[in-house]
């Protein structure tokens, strides 16, 4: 307690400890807000039930021919991996929203004034949020595979691994947008503008192969496309793009988003 003492020992922040502390904080927050878990599952579930079961019935009416459109899968199987990816991808953006709320409620300054490397603080935060998102993804994955067909334990785990990377992508993008925005409303606006197009040209709801070239080109720069294709491949064995390419595309976009977010956060001042 002898602050102001002569040359008192100064604690040295450690990258790993700061990273773990921020991850822990995010997980504790997640635990404290159970309603958020429910909330994040509602939208994809609605999508699965009303969109998925509806179209599934329509395609079944067409008969076995419709399967050729989905690489031999039923429509529900085709859709299931996309629903899981969508769940965690949206939860990842929630991580960016958390940054905005922290700024509104003041905690942001507590983080900014800390001596730990900014990369540890931001990546720790994203690690915590993405673990929470993964839990939501797991719940969703079990729900959808019960409906659509069991992909086996390894298929499920591999699908979740792809989903996890997708969370990191959206958390990185979310943080980047949040750090460039002044208000929660602005963030919400940009997110809405970004999320829906990304979802629709991800190949989650319909195959992108028959699409016009320019839309296909957009899909190839969409990290969600790679994530969905990868998840569908590992879960049900059907790829549009070679899996290695999927993994590479996803990894590149994710690394880029996280790198930019860290760079932005490192240059963040109050004024």
């Amino acid at each position: 307690m002898e602050a102001g003492g002569k040359g008192a020992a100064v604690a040295e922040p450690s990258w790993l400890a700061a990273f773990a502390a921020m991850a822990l904080r995010q997980l504790l927050r997640f635990k404290a807000a159970k309603s958020r878990v429910i909330n994040s599952l509602v939208f994809p579930l609605i999508w699965l039930v009303f969109f998925g079961l509806g179209w599934s019935a329509a395609f079944n009416f067409l008969g076995p021919m419709s399967r050729s459109l989905f690489g031999g899968l039923t429509y529900l199987q085709f859709l299931a991996p996309g629903i899981v990816i969508m769940t965690v991808f949206m939860a990842g953006f929630g991580s960016g929203l958390g940054l905005i709320w922290d700024r509104e409620f003041g905690y942001f300054k507590e983080i900014l004034v800390a001596p730990a490397p900014r990369s540890a603080l931001l990546l720790g935060r994203i690690a915590g949020d993405s673990l929470a998102a993964l839990l939501q993804g797991l719940i969703m994955a079990v729900l959808v595979t019960v409906l659509a067909g069991w992909p086996g334990v390894w298929g499920l785990l591999a699908g979740l691994a792809a989903a996890y990377v997708a969370t990191l992508t959206s958390a990185g993008l979310g943080a980047l947008i949040a750090l460039s925005m002044r208000s929660p409303e602005g963030f919400q606006l940009v997110i809405n503008l970004v999320i829906l197009p990304m979802l629709f040209i991800s190949g989650a709801f319909y195959p992108i192969d028959p699409l016009p070239a320019w839309l296909k080109a957009l899909a190839y720069i969409n990290p969600l496309y790679y994530a969905v294709d990868l998840a569908r491949g590992v879960m049900y064995g059907v790829y549009s793009t070679p899996p290695l390419l999927d993994a590479l595309g996803l990894a590149l976009v994710t690394a880029g988003a996280l790198g930019l977010a860290v760079a932005k956060f490192s240059r963040t001042y109050i004024a």
């Binding site: 602050a3 102001g4 003492g5 507590e110």
Partner: protein
């Protein structure tokens, strides 16, 4: 009496800050000594928070420089951050977490081992009178408790200097008194404190050294006594038993300053410096010449008088209004 630069925990030289259009700081300089409680006193919008922001490395100055805890805030912000504790004007806690969880995360981010965090947390929560609330979520804390908690958290790393931006703004009188007690305890322990306030009682009661800031400039600086003596002096009222006694008293009093007889001829009014030291001497002289005094009283200038003299405006007008209250509570409600 040469003091080395190492005796100063904070050295600010010509700090400037321009927000697009607004000149918030126009060349602010001061020094803060090790172990003192330094107060930056000024009305709303004077530039207090901007000054703190620069010193704690979160606001980039447009000009000037500052050295805090031996390191330049612009060139070595990381070194500065390791050595300071900060209580911002608005709360910066995670209300969904308990006090302990907030402390633990804070300590780990600063690189403290868990054992040290546990030990110091217990001690510090006791210091601020919150030891029983350690495992309650901060959502259930009152505004005053949050303030005290933030002081404890800021001290967890044993900083070389503790920054507090308006530590009692918006608190009710009891909560304010509790925060004051904590700061007085820190003062006893020799913690260097830099605080800002627009309450002059607060500055007067807590600070060893005060700089008065207005419109981005330091307009006066010194100990509370030095500042108040700028106004010209204290006013003493000596009530004599008879008119004759009063006349004898007047002759004595005139030796110390400007004196006159007022009211019904029995009251001597003396304007002079340092009344508390003067009064016993006057009483002694009066006894020597047999002048009987029935009552004495003196009025000292306040920091408000100093501010009034320097700016023509009163600090009191700006004080403690509903605006402060609203600012804290509206903010807290969102949290």
């Amino acid at each position: 009496m040469g003091r080395g630069a190492e005796d100063y925990v904070i050295v600010a030289e010509g700090l400037r800050k321009r927000y697009d259009g607004v000149e918030a700081l126009r060349g602010v300089s001061f020094r803060v000594r090790r172990g003192e409680v330094f107060g930056l006193l000024g009305p709303n919008g004077a530039g207090k928070t901007t000054t703190v922001g620069i010193l704690v490395t979160l606001v980039k100055p447009s000009g000037g420089r500052a050295v805090v805890a031996g390191h330049d805030v612009a060139r070595e912000p990381w070194e500065v951050r390791k050595r300071i504790g900060v209580v911002f004007q608005e709360p910066t806690v995670d209300r969904d977490l308990t006090a302990w969880q907030n402390l633990y995360v804070h300590g780990r981010i600063y690189g403290l081992p868990r054992r040290v965090i546990e030990e110091r947390s217990r001690e510090l929560m006791e210091l601020v009178g919150l030891e029983k609330a350690m495992h309650r979520p901060l959502r259930s804390y009152s505004g005053g408790m949050i303030r005290r908690f933030e002081i404890a958290r800021a001290l967890l790393t044993e900083p070389m200097v503790l920054f507090m931006d308006e530590p009692t703004v918006g608190l009710d009188p009891q909560a304010r008194a509790k925060v004051w007690e904590v700061i007085e305890e820190l003062k006893k322990r020799g913690v260097t404190v830099f605080l800002t306030t627009h309450y002059m009682e607060e500055a007067e009661r807590l600070c060893d050294h005060i700089a008065i800031i207005d419109h981005g400039r330091i307009i006066a600086e010194g100990s509370p006594e030095e500042l108040k003596s700028m106004v010209g002096g204290d006013t003493l009222y000596l009530v004599a038993e008879t008119r004759l006694d009063a006349e004898k008293l007047l002759r004595i009093a005139s030796g110390y300053g400007e004196a006159r007889i007022a009211e019904d001829g029995r009251v001597v009014v003396l304007v002079a410096r340092d009344a508390p030291r003067l009064l016993p001497r006057i009483l002694e002289e009066a006894r020597a010449v047999g002048a009987r005094i029935v009552e004495t009283r003196y009025v000292r200038p306040t920091l408000n008088d100093v501010f009034l003299m320097l700016t023509g405006r009163s600090l009191r007008d700006e004080e403690g209004g509903w605006r402060d209250w609203a600012r804290l509570h509206l903010h807290a409600r969102r949290g």
